[in-house]
Symmetry: C2
Subunit: 85 residues, 2 copies
DNA sequence: ATAAAATATCAATATAGATTGATATTTTCA
DNA sequence: TGAAAATATCAATCTATATTGATATTTTAT
């Protein structure tokens, strides 16, 4: 649902997370240390972003790396772009 | 603030309102009759959309017509487009 | 096997925002 | 002037969601 994707990006911390992931993938501990927020809160926001299809993750040892799902982000943007046309 | 604009469009009824206004301006009573929602609720959502700069209004007699602020909508889209690039 | 590190989950609480009901305001028209 | 139509505002409530604290899970290393 488009609304869910929009809601996912409409939250300050989640938007920041997306910005952080824009350059390259990051593990959870890098993200929460960078944003200076509790680890479980970051986990929660990552779950929302992932649920919306905006990011994906891969496991490496004890760490979990998250990265943008650029395909879906482009899909959202083209959908929004269609709107105004 | 970008977040406010994003939040404004991230609500089902408000997104519907934007879709209705896409074709042409509408007065409040047309909108709420079309969406089958209480008048005051529509007024509230219109206020949010207007606060976010997504729509504007003009008064004609006892009616108030709302219409898209296309300039700002385009501004938002180009901002979002920049994000992925 | 045990401990430590990284992450996720869960319940509780706090907060923001949507909805409702009642009422106020503005404009027109008889 | 007074009633009706259209819209806005306000307080109350309800609901969704963000945040917090505690704990569970998973993986690695000793």
């Amino acid at each position: 649902m488009v609304i869910d994707v929009l809601k996912a990006i409409s939250e300050e911390n989640r938007l920041k997370i997306l910005c952080i992931l824009k350059k390259q993938e990051k593990c959870v501990c890098e993200i929460w240390q960078f944003l200076n927020l509790p680890q479980n809160l970051i986990s929660h926001h990552l779950k929302v972003l992932k649920g919306a299809g905006l990011i994906n993750s891969r496991k490496e040892g004890t760490k979990v790396f998250y990265f943008l799902n650029k395909k879906n982000i482009k899909r959202l943007l083209s959908l929004l772009n269609k709107f105004i046309k």
